[in-house]
Amino acid sequence: MENMKLSCAAIAKVKEICENHNNDAGELINVLHETQNTLGYLPREVQELVAKNLNIPVNRVNGVVSFYAFFTEKPKGKHPISICLGTACYVRGSDKVLEEVKKVLGIEVGETTPDGVFSLDCLRCVGACGLAPVMTISGKVFGNVDPKNIRKIIESFEAEA
């Protein structure tokens, strides 16, 4: 996990989220969703804080954070890239798209580029199967992706960054 010191504002925010859910342990997943939306990710310190506020052991919080793919303990890049590995995209060659993106960025799945601009993840089906294979960058969907064009697509975001 990342070393980070939480700011007073972040601590207050987490406390507020927990209170909005009545500090109810049954609301843990909703609390984590909101916390991740606010802070971007869920480092160890945040998990400890959530555990304290909801009055549950931190291992239960970490058990939930590590169980669900949606929660992340590492910060994402400025432009998170997701490659769809749903079946429809897979049979239309999304594995080759993934290989090319890894090659272009020089990182593996779950990693962030050293400059913090891009992070790479896989997801299962965005539901745009008619456009397979599909990748998303910062939420924008790119359909019918040809590995040959990937460098150009990524460079267009680099320029922006």
Binding site: I29, F70, T87, Y90, R124, C125, G127, C129, L131
Partner: protein, 635 residues
């Protein structure tokens, strides 16, 4: 305004009837060349698809440009732009439909928006280049009823998708919405409601196909002051998107059905467990819930009957196993989504230990219409044991990718070749995968199977949630099995050893086969392990997890044998078994390949055919990409 009686509901229906009548394909006169305002039509509606797929192709920008154009030409009072849910024909999206001309425009781009308004709506001429072209006849088809994609479909669960504005509850009411709830609350006892669902023969659309009426009956018999109704919207099967489309296109049908169930089983609370990855579906559900509240169709004393019912949304966080109902319940309780043994069934002990009835989105969407048209009508559609229709997400190497709904009993051949328009790029059909990661791959010999729960199960696959992925000769079946197993290994919750460790071992064996190091004994080992996982796993996910391997082993054993004996991959996908070769007849010795080879593996004199040194070659493919004469191929 709160709806207090059947009359109030009827009033909203009548007020909106004309608007909806414009979109009723069955009563429209679409003959004649002239269209748009030229024809004398006083009110025109332009429907644009607001589903996730079409939105990704800028359907919002199209709607915005059309609106601007209407205002510019001063016809905004006569023409209305309406954003609907998914039309289903995703391959041809974004789709724009002009009513009452019943003109179906495909692959519309934002720059086409002005032309549709100028030419069609104002000028009275259809924009020919945006019409669908029938690949068989080569002629264009302007309305969806005459497209092969729609001709065989019967849309029950999808009845309102692509037809109504999902963010306007009045349009849902105009399509008889909430009349079933009113009928149940005012004229039926809870037992009678359950009886109707039982007589309809409806079975769960989420996978296993358990009779819905029986499920409701179990929950109704549990004695408790507090009970819950849950909508399972954790659509995790990669490649299936029907639940998302229903939530995005017709959210009120789910809300109405859940309220009916609440009345039938004696529950006051509804929960929708939806994937956090579906922001649009969540937004539409929230809108529908708050509109239903405003009209008094949710909340306290619904329709003055004293029945209270409320719905809240719970978010999933990305775990396939949460589609299993006990796991889903644990996840809603803020815990890891691990399944537990049944019994106790959720109908006895579910959410927070209270009796809970869980149904899937598509199942819910069928409920209101069963009450509107009667259970006998529903039971008259389909096969002996599987009633009604099923929605399938048709995808992969097929011409018409999209969301389709067909009566149970339709054959796979009809779905793939008539509705789906056959295999892409004229390639050869190889397999169709149904049932997602728990299902199996079926082949040519299964194409005439009449699709229902039993027949798919007997063929070694399953109905599942309705993913249908078509594969052609370029797909390696060993790799397909490995793909599904990779998914299972990632998604296994880890609670029981057979699933957690067994699938991992199976994946290692498949990795070994793909790497060209497999043996015949490995195939036996795969089968043995698969059997143990099937027998000994705790939940449905584990018990069905070896299906993709078992069905490919059964139906494509020769392909596995080629991999392990001859070290050959006929689909040319397993790189370990392939080499780049230079055809000396085509090679002119231009040296371009050698110049670009990163490891200097290509040798040869200038203007003489070159050769590849396989000791050095890393199979990167740069040579093939650089050869202008197509002299290099993968064999």
């Amino acid at each position: 305004m709160k709806i207090k009686s059947l009359q109030d509901l009827e009033k909203i229906k009548t007020e909106n009837a004309t608007r909806l009548e414009l979109r009723n394909e069955d009563t429209l006169d679409t003959g004649g060349e002239t269209c748009g305002l030229e024809k004398g039509t006083e009110h025109i509606q332009v429907l644009t698809c607001g589903g996730t797929g079409c939105k990704a192709s800028e359907s919002e920008a199209i709607a915005k440009k059309m609106q601007e154009c209407l205002e510019q030409f001063g016809v905004a009072d006569k023409v209305e732009i309406i954003t609907t849910g998914c039309f289903g024909f995703c391959e041809k999206g974004p789709i724009v439909k002009v009513m009452p001309d019943n003109t179906f425009y495909t692959k519309v781009k934002p720059e086409d928006a002005v032309e549709i308004i100028k030419e069609h709506v104002i000028g009275g001429r259809r924009v020919q280049r945006l019409l669908y072209v029938d690949p068989e006849t080569g002629s264009s088809v302007s309305d969806s009823r005459h497209m092969n994609f729609y001709r065989k479909q019967v849309r029950i669960a999808l009845r309102n998708c692509g037809l109504i504005d999902p963010e306007n509850i009045d349009e849902y009411i105009a399509r008889n919405g909430y009349s079933a709830l009113a009928d149940c609350l005012l004229h039926k006892t809870p037992a009678e409601v359950i009886d109707v669902v039982k007589r309809s023969g409806l079975r769960g659309r989420g996978g296993a196909g358990f009779p819905t009426g029986n499920k409701w009956e179990f929950a109704s018999k549990s004695k408790s002051d507090i009970k819950y109704v849950v909508c399972n919207a954790d659509e995790g099967d990669p490649g299936a998107f029907m639940d998302r489309s229903i939530m995005e296109g017709d959210p009120n049908s789910i809300i109405e059905a859940m309220a009916i169930c609440g009345y039938a089983i004696g529950a006051q609370y509804g929960l929708i467990y939806v994937r956090a990855e579906y922001p649009l579906a969540i937004h539409r559900l929230q809108t529908a819930i708050s509109q239903a509240h405003e009209l008094g169709l949710l909340g306290e004393d619904i329709l003055g009957t004293g029945f209270n019912f409320d719905i809240t949304i719970r978010y999933g966080a990305g775990a396939f196993v949460c589609g299993e109902e006990t796991a889903l319940i644990h996840s809603m309780e803020g815990k890891r989504g691990e399944p537990t043994l049944k019994p106790p069934f959720p109908a006895v002990e579910g959410y927070k230990k209270y009796p809970t009835n869980v149904n899937n989105v598509e199942t819910w969407a069928n409920i209101p219409v069963i009450f509107q048209n009667g259970p006998e009508w529903f039971a008259s559609i389909g096969t002996e044991k599987s009633k009604g229709t099923k929605v399938f997400a048709l995808a992969g190497k097929i011409n018409n990718v999209g969301l389709i709904e067909v009566p149970m009993g339709t054959t796979l051949r009809e779905v793939i070749y008539e509705i789906g328009g056959g295999i892409k790029d004229g390639k050869k059909f190889k397999a169709v995968q149904t049932g997602g990661p728990s299902g199996g791959c079926l082949t040519e010999k299964h194409l005439d199977i009449h699709i229902d729960y039993e027949s798919l199960g007997a063929a070694g696959s399953m109905m599942g949630s309705g993913g249908m992925i078509v594969m052609d000769e370029d797909n390696c079946m060993v790799q397909v099995a490995r793909f599904y197993l990779g998914f299972i290994v990632e998604e296994s919750c880890g609670k029981c050893a057979p699933c957690r460790i067994g699938n991992k071992r199976m994946l290692e064996i498949l990795d070994k086969i793909v790497a060209g190091k497999g043996t015949v004994e490995d195939l036996d080992k795969l089968e043995e392990l698969a059997q143990v996982i099937k027998d000994a796993s705790l939940c449905g996910l584990g018990q069905t997890s070896p299906n993709p391997v078992l069905s490919t082993l059964a139906n494509f054993r020769d392909e596995y044998m080629e991999h392990v004996v001859e070290k050959k991959c006929r689909a040319k996908q397993c790189m370990s078994m392939l080499n780049y070769t230079i055809n000396s007849k085509n090679c002119v010795g231009c040296h371009l390949c050698a110049k670009n080879c990163p490891v200097d593996a290509i040798v040869g004199e200038l203007r003489q055919p070159h050769t590849i040194d396989y000791q050095k070659c890393i199979k990167c493919g740069t040579c093939m990409n650089n050869c202008r004469l197509h002299a290099i191929s993968l064999k």
